[in-house]
Symmetry: C2
Subunit: 142 residues, 2 copies
DNA sequence: TCATATCTGCAAATGTGTCGCATATGTGTA
DNA sequence: TACACATATGCGACACATTTGCAGATATGA
């Protein structure tokens, strides 16, 4: 898991043509630190402990960072979004269809599958980054 | 794409130990007919044209049918759920991360990938049915 | 330092989905 | 077929995630 210094993140923001505000930097920094994709609720909780920051600001920054390609937005069918740093590498996870359990799996390439799917596709020509969610039931729920 | 008669669907409901009500049958029948996974909004619109049916009823029936394993619930990061008939076979789709475009791709097996992921997993032992969503950008948004 | 585009907090508004409750309906049993 | 009871339904209120309008604050280039 790559570690980014605050200065690194500032560079990322500038490269993305985003203004470097305290709050935006803080949001980016917070997401960069989490191990599992974080919910907005978790992020807001964490951020509020450090600084007085409104949830609307958190939402707006998550959106701008996502649009700029710095964050990946994930949805696990749980009714709320999750965010993680956009690493350029694909993101794969098993997701429980019953409870909120998710498990990121590292080190598996699905490039072949993506290639096959693109070959059959009419609406997609290439994918930039992609994430794959496989839904099943976790041990507790099975 | 398998076609189900109304009688077939009644049998499915009975096998699932669900009461056969007009509304539940109608919801199931409607989902069974759509080609692409349908949003609740679309289903409510379609259903309202045929019969006076409340959206709470639609939601409740979609849930009971999903819990009973007759419907698959999908989330494409668009802020609302989609439903399709649970076929037993896996469901694969390319999803645009920018607009609402999705494209189902048939005839690709990802059993090997699922097997590999399960092997690395600590929280999942086996998957029942699974669906895979690969996020990228569609031609228009690329 | 200034001008201006962008950001922020606040409160109110949306959108999606759920719940409580009184009434209606399906289903097994007599 | 009629009954009893569990379950389903409609309605309105509610809950939660996310967005928006607006007025004041801040970042950035000139």
């Amino acid at each position: 898991m790559a570690m980014y210094s605050r200065d690194d993140l500032v560079v990322l923001l500038k490269e993305a043509n985003l203004r470097v505000t305290d709050h935006r930097l803080l949001v980016l920094e917070t997401v960069a630190k989490v191990k599992q994709p974080a919910t907005v609720y978790e992020l807001v909780e964490t951020l509020r402990k450090k600084e007085n920051i409104d949830q609307a600001t958190v939402y707006r920054n998550l959106s701008s960072l996502h649009e700029a390609g710095l964050l990946r937005r994930l949805d696990f069918n749980h009714g709320h979004a999750h965010y993680e740093l956009e690493t350029g590498r694909a993101s794969h996870q098993l997701v429980c269809g019953n409870c909120e359990t998710i498990e990121k799996i590292e080190g598996i390439s699905i490039d072949d599958v993506v290639k096959k799917m693109l070959k059959k596709s009419k609406k997609f020509k290439h994918t930039t980054t992609h994430s794959m969610e496989i839904y099943g039931l976790c041990k507790s729920c099975a």
